[in-house]
Amino acid sequence: MLLHTVNKSFERNSLDACLRLAKAGSTVLLIEDGVYAAVQGTCLEGKLKQAMDTGINLCVLAPDLLARGFATDKVIAGINAVDYAGFVQLAADHSSVQSWL
């Protein structure tokens, strides 16, 4: 299964494109400005919960989240926080990596 990375927030449509084309069982990792989508209660929360319901695994890069002023307890339940070593491990554990630039 693929690892997808998304690095843009509300400003771009890359998260939409990613969630539309990611298959169940694949993992979407939110990095850089993409981490804002992982925060509870925003207008994107519904989309992310729906993605998880269809079997997509969601992760968020914790150093990027902390840099932007959000503690990991602000993250939507079910989204896993990882560090850079975790990012590397996710890339290793999936068959290939697709960056949604």
């Binding site: 690095n7 990095i31 850089e32 400005d33 150093p63 990027d64 560090d83 850079y84 070593a85 990012f87 590397v88 491990q89 890339a91 290793a92 290939s96 990596v97 960056s99 630039l101």
Partner: protein
């Protein structure tokens, strides 16, 4: 596992170069190999030796150089992208009739084939961009 890294954006302007650096560092520190870091598009500007970032800020070029030295990392700057943007080593400067070069030690200029080769030889290619 062997990783290949592609970067598309200039340093400082976008976080892509920083994230690529952190990823590469974490991969190496966790026992993985990095076959090559390929600097494409504006990312060729990672390789300038003329940058003087503020004292209290990171120096992205020096970070790459230190990592390359410690782990014998292959850092390749795309020649076509570099020519378009004014990044030259001494050979290129001579060949193009330019009076100065600006590539930092530890980076080498080469063709796009090196990116394809990184895709072939690495177990995973990871792209950082905007």
């Amino acid at each position: 596992m062997k990783f290949g890294i592609q970067i598309n954006e200039g340093p400082y302007q976008h976080q892509a170069s920083d994230t690529a650096y952190q990823f590469t560092k974490a991969a190496l520190e966790n026992g993985h190999k990095v076959y090559r870091v390929f600097f494409y598009h504006d990312a060729v500007n990672n390789a300038t030796r003329l940058a003087v970032p503020p004292q209290d800020d990171r120096n992205i070029t020096k970070n790459w150089q230190a990592l390359a030295k410690e782990y014998n990392l292959d850092m390749v700057v795309c020649i076509a992208a570099a020519q378009r943007r004014g990044l030259l080593d001494e050979n290129e400067a001579k060949r193009q009739g330019k009076d100065a070069s600006n590539i930092a030690e530890g980076f080498r200029i080469s063709g796009l084939g090196q990116l394809i080769e990184a895709g072939i030889q690495s177990d995973r290619l990871v792209v950082f961009g905007d």
